[in-house]
Symmetry: C2
């Protein structure tokens, strides 16, 4: 593509070759029946003249923009950028552009964001809903990334199974008392993870769940979790429901003079940057975001196709995407007995799942 010259149009190619623009269109799209020779000549001319398709014209004519929207809740959850990146990749591969919309704050913002995208003419959208919000029929194809236990969910990681992996990991390391740390009882994702963790730990391990939400409500935000007391009570495992909580737990333990990993193990979920940056680095569970993104884009593509055939909206739904497996990333894997069980692999308890 030479800089400076404006991009050529189909009409110009047609004029240069003495053919009709319909033929140019057919040759370039490969749809109409155009002879191989002419087709080749046209393709070459397009190349030489620096043809760039006009998305606007195509959109006006076909009613499809080739753009999908991505609605993300408050950015304060540091996982979302990675989702955005994965979606952008998958969308680009499928020929879609991605228009972003942020729905931080109230649920009303989410509705507004969706409205803006519709006005811009997106062919469909992928939404990661705000906690506790339901995305109804919005008159446009939608794919939803939330949790398998959410009604209307299109694609998500298998948070429950992930929790189970982590629970088994703790079990295999020989922990007897494990504290589960979560933040919101309203979060489907967190509830799934907690459920899985309990199942993975099994009946022989004592576990208790600390809901930070309650803690902050009663003592004000920013209060410590009181983990040192738990260690005194015999807890050696601390399994947080996402990495930020794990980070909080780790630093609080360290601050209070508890040696991690010698006296306690800490784990999180999502494998965000700092899980591996912190010393000691923490064990976590990585989501397969590229698969999730691909599933979402594919499902949305189908929904878009369907919405043309059928009349109205269609919620995307495909098999094999509702429970994308997560991957355990074991980092400081020391058990309670000063590191003697370090390399034990995942224990195959059969009492659950």
């Amino acid at each position: 593509m030479s800089v400076g010259r404006p991009p050529a149009t189909m009409t110009e190619i047609a004029a240069a070759l003495g053919v009709s623009s319909a033929t140019v269109s057919n040759a370039l799209s490969g749809k109409g029946r155009v002879s191989a020779e002419l087709s080749a000549k046209i393709r070459q001319a397009a190349e030489e003249l620096g043809y760039v398709p006009s998305h606007a014209a195509r959109a006006l004519r076909t009613g499809r923009t080739g753009v999908i929207g991505l609605v993300l809740p408050d950015i304060s959850n540091p996982l979302f950028p990675q989702i955005a990146q994965a979606i952008e990749q998958a969308a680009a591969a499928a020929g879609y552009g991605v228009l972003i919309a942020d729905s931080r704050g109230e649920t009303a913002q989410q509705t507004a964001a969706i409205g803006r995208l519709i006005e811009r003419g997106v062919d469909g959208m992928i939404v990661v809903p705000r906690r506790g919000s339901r995305i109804g029929d919005i008159g446009t194809p939608v794919a939803i990334i939330d949790s398998p236990s959410t009604p209307g969910n299109t694609v998500s990681s298998d948070h429950w199974e992930g929790g189970m992996q982590m629970g088994r990991h703790f079990a295999s390391l020989g922990h007897d008392k494990v504290l589960l740390i979560a933040q919101s009882r309203e979060s489907n994702v967190q509830n799934d993870r907690i459920g899985g963790l309990k199942a993975g730990l099994g009946d022989d391990i004592c576990c208790e769940t600390l809901w930070v939400e309650d803690l902050e409500a009663s003592q004000g935000a920013g209060s410590a979790f009181g983990l040192a007391d738990r260690v005194a009570d015999g807890f050696t495992g601390f399994a947080a429901v996402y990495d930020l909580l794990a980070l909080r737990a780790l630093t609080e333990l360290q601050r209070d003079g508890i040696d991690v990993p010698l006296q306690a193990s800490v784990s999180g979920f999502d494998d965000l940057v700092w899980s591996s940056v912190v010393i000691p680095s923490i064990t976590t569970l990585r989501q397969n975001l590229s698969t999730i993104a691909e599933c979402a884009v594919e499902a949305l593509g189908h929904a878009i196709a369907d919405s043309e055939t059928l009349s109205g909206t269609s919620i995307a739904g495909r098999p094999n995407c509702e429970r994308v497996p997560m991957m355990l990333v074991a980092r400081h894997s020391t058990g309670p007995a000063s590191g003697s069980v370090v390399s034990a692999s995942v224990n195959a308890r059969k009492d659950s799942g």
Copy 2:
């Protein structure tokens, strides 16, 4: 907007009212001279019929899509989501949609990302360049967010001045030996921050810079920074050039039994989530991202307007945007002498700046 009925067009409004579509267009855009009464009637009809403008048609006709591109480098830098959010806000307020493109990996990806956006017909784009890359004339209006010392920079925080604030903060707390922790010598942003830190600390305070890059080259990634030794050497201040490094420093110190903030102070830059989540929370410098975003969008808007008048590209450039101030967020502000100087405010040394 009633669901189910397809959005009305200008032509339909015109038909319903028995006027021409040109008049409808003029009334709705407020450009042409249309009588107040007719104008009101048209606006009302538009409302009732559920008029939604066709961006595609407008784009085809005017040659402008009302969409700008946002090119971001590797997401692994957790500041970028916040930038993205701020840009989306500012762009929406200015009537633009935001198409994202990710340029992780090689510089070639950045070029490819820019190309994709141009093909999609964006009116212009905002790019946060990859370290060490230069954005030349790309035939489309561009605004660049980097650092004041980068040639071609459009808008950025005043990283140098921010560094100076932080340096003075350490000075005011009475530290004698401060270790500066940075990662890449190629980063303009990091160099600016280091320069400012040194100036803010002044000549009386001993400071040294640890380049982690060198460390990893010689000892492999993931190696400890050896900060405990520094404490033994009398260092009490640890000023990292971004929060992730600060986090690493904090946990390493704590792991090695150093009490923060009693024996050492740790600070970062950017005020990312975890700076306030960690215990103890760390002092940092917050960028004014909404101002930066607004400046970038405004500058880009001017560049887009110019590019229609003049012939070719124009690089955005506006006053007052090249050095947006940063804000100190003091958290654990203890000096080296076991907390006696906790609440000292910023020291007004005059030996620099």
